[in-house]
Symmetry: C2
């Protein structure tokens, strides 16, 4: 067998263990009773260790060398390059650190689920300290190899190619125009009235609304499910994608848009090329591109007046006893594009969202680089919230630095992906408009031209190209944040 | 580290991978969308192979020898012996057979879920042929090592110590008295009237009934869940036990008693000694003892008039719009002890149940031993159903040989455990009555004396003793089927 084929077989084996990790991880967040967590954490850590061992198989270095000399197609060459990247990222972390981080994440995430509700920073800080320590160790090892800062080394895991320097520049630019724009939008919206929706939305019906919306968005229920978790996420595997949302009895707005967002992630996963299943080249390109798909669904598509025109009859049908008059597309659009400074990132509108990301970026960058300590986080959070959004989170940890799940896993370097994703999504939409009549597609209740564009330009390309190549092929240029600015201007001003 | 400790550590590692297999197996049956099955099957087969590799770790033979010479406590000695038994059972099966059987089981079980509903024997037979072939291969390897028949070698996996010779004798005896007893009971019950219950039992309410019943039975919801699957089962791990049931809108009888049955399995798992977690000595003793617990819950406890007196107010409360008059304990008892020849094993009453088991036992014994072929199964099934229960299953595969999940996994040798379990349960009940006032405990709505007896005599003893030793310690004698006969006589005649 050629060494390229040996490597492919080996990666498919690894992907099968990762399949088990994904499903058991989903279960841990969506199904598992609390008392099961210690044993689950131990089992997942054992599995992480085993996957790490597989990445450290002694023959691999030799296989890579030999495969490099083999006569490979362009696609195989890209696959080899992604296998090598994955291997190099994994093998430099020592086994005991892999196990320790897996155990600490399970513990921190699980405890956070109840600590957050209780605003228990002191309890959280105990586990968080450990997570920060282990993440710094990991970042240090990666940084030494890559010759970068610790945080740059972590960024590279989620967003290969992006650096602190890039982000500082992008975010500095955003800071020059966004605060004024937000002020203007809020001023403009003062004169608009949004009709209220009532406050009694049975969870069973909200679930039906979510399922109907997923159907509309092309989610394949033969290869996925919708469930409930504290923090909405998209997990599972491409053949079986698990998305979650959360419900409040008194409103449907956030659970519905949460479903739209996660469905964007899910359609990307479901739309990855089948013939590359199990290979690193067949996985999603980066977290930024992943977020570009969820935010394309949520922001570009989901909050458009045209799409809300499709949601309107569903709402009328399900919740007729509520204020059905409010379910018209115009009023839904007003409600779904309301701009307001708020505490919670996942509930934020698209205009204030970058502020939430920049704040987290600045904190996690300094935390991983050791410029600040874990104890400093609440105070800095509060100061930045006041500066960027005029809100104080003093002593309000649950709506402040304890609101997100990411840091409980030590996923430092992930947050910038959200704003990069929003920017990519706007750029993709602008490019799509050159060949697809998006509004016509929505108005005729056949969204397939939209999904076909995404499938051809993003989903089917998986990790066969670098992010820059992928974006340039799809849009004619690499990341250009002006499309995002333009989108906000068009929609809100 | 002592070799005993090395071995223990190794088995705890294996148990962690088995944890992942259990949860993903539960998910496959209770949560997974159909399109996820191929990838799941591949992932579980890869895992089975890995566990098999761990059991084949080259150092183990040496470790067992060294550990045998170490100064061990009695409990450690029992642990060592169970580790060795597990190792010997696993290591003799070649890896490719382990993988092939795992893949074939996933495929056969998954297809069976829809084939059964369609009565599609032809479709099922394709996968079943493969399962029979692989199981025969496995049995042959085990038989050669043990110097027994193929079927005896398989029996030993589920019921160590029990042989075809034992079972032939036990079942021959049952055949001498049971048919007459069933006739007598049916005759006697002809004069009894059972009030009907109505036919509109909302599934959501049945679920609440199930949850309330589990609470009554001491199920620990911090370490387990109740869900839905085509075939009720108890899965998961001791720290997180997953039981399932199935609901019909028009009756509550079978889902409720299904829950009671699975809760018996679950309480055994939840009640296993924590300090032996992950070690083979800390697992359930055998499938027969496992069934003794589910059948103790279902038959000895669940169908008693006293216990049904606790269910009565729950039913009145949940289903008051139905025929609430029928929910009195006397009428519930009549309904739950109705004897009638039927097609479906899991719906069978305890008097006709042994006929279902003997039929399966005789078929699977001859199938594994190669006396009959997989194609012969429907015809023999029909003939035996006519002989034992006076019912024909000609061309009715779904209520005949396709009704159970066990054979889709190749779990040949499991079925006798059900009747052994019923016999053990009756024997345990008789022994329990010497020190526990069971009816008083139930009437006072505090079942803890019953659970304490089971915990001390069965659950906490896990696999520290052989089945014969366990039963003798608990009851003063080894298996004595006359308690079962006596129980039927007392309850039904």
């Amino acid at each position: 067998m050629s060494k390229f084929n040996e490597l492919s077989k080996h990666f498919i084996k690894i992907s099968r263990f990762n399949h088990l990790a994904s499903i058991c991880g989903w279960d841990q967040a969506a199904m598992m009773p609390s008392g099961g967590n210690d044993a689950r954490g131990a089992a997942l850590a054992e599995l992480a260790l085993h996957v790490h061992d597989l990445q450290n198989k002694p023959e691999l270095a030799e296989w890579y060398e030999a495969a490099d000399l083999e006569d490979l197609t362009k696609e195989q060459r890209a696959t080899l390059s992604e296998m090598k990247r994955s291997w190099e990222n994994d093998k430099i972390i020592p086994s005991d650190l892999v196990e320790a981080k897996s155990l600490a994440s399970s513990k921190c995430e699980h405890a956070w689920r109840t600590q957050r509700g209780k605003n228990d920073w002191a309890g959280f800080a105990v586990n968080f300290e450990e997570i920060v320590k282990l993440s710094q160790e990991e970042a240090q090892i990666r940084a030494e190899r890559a010759g970068t800062s610790r945080y740059d080394a972590m960024l590279n895991l989620y967003e290969p190619g992006v650096t602190t320097e890039n982000l500082n520049a992008i975010f500095a630019d955003v800071k020059t125009w966004l605060p004024n724009m937000v002020t203007e939008i809020i001023e403009k919206q003062k004169s608009e009235t949004v009709m209220g929706f009532g406050n009694d939305f049975l969870i069973e019906k909200q679930k039906l609304l979510g399922l109907d919306t997923m159907k509309l968005l092309g989610f394949d229920f033969n290869h996925g499910r919708l469930d409930v978790s504290v923090h909405p996420f998209c997990g599972g595997v491409p053949t079986d994608v698990r998305i979650t949302t959360r419900y409040e009895e008194n409103e449907f707005i956030s659970s519905m848009m949460g479903v739209v967002h996660e469905t964007g992630h899910a359609c990307y996963e479901q739309g990855l090329p089948k013939h590359l299943a199990g290979l690193p080249s067949g996985t999603a390109r980066s977290m930024g591109i992943h977020e570009s798909q969820s935010l394309f669904f949520e922001m570009q598509l989901g909050r458009s007046k045209e799409f809300l025109g499709l949601i309107s009859p569903l709402l009328n049908n399900l919740f007729e006893e509520q204020n059905a008059g409010a379910f018209g597309a115009d009023n839904l659009f007003k409600a779904y594009t309301r701009v307001e400074a708020g505490y919670i990132r996942v509930d934020a509108d698209e205009a204030t969202y970058p502020a939430h990301v920049i704040l987290r970026y600045e904190i996690e960058r300094d935390l991983v680089n050791g410029v600040i300590g874990f104890k400093d986080v609440p105070e800095i959070w509060d100061a930045k919230m006041q500066e960027y959004l005029g809100l104080s989170t003093k002593d309000n940890f649950k709506d402040g630095c304890m609101q997100d799940i990411h840091w409980t896993w030590g996923a430092f370097g992930y947050f910038p992906s959200y704003t990069l994703g929003a920017m990519y999504a706007a750029q993709f939409k602008a490019a799509m408009l050159r060949t697809v009549d998006v509004n016509k597609a929505i108005n005729s209740n056949d969204l397939s031209p939209i999904f076909n564009w995404l499938s051809q330009n993003i989903w089917q390309k998986a990790s066969l190209f670098s992010t820059d190549e992928l974006v340039a092929q799809a849009t004619g240029e690499t990341l250009n944040a002006s499309y995002f600015k333009q989108h906000l201007q068009n929609r809100y001003l």
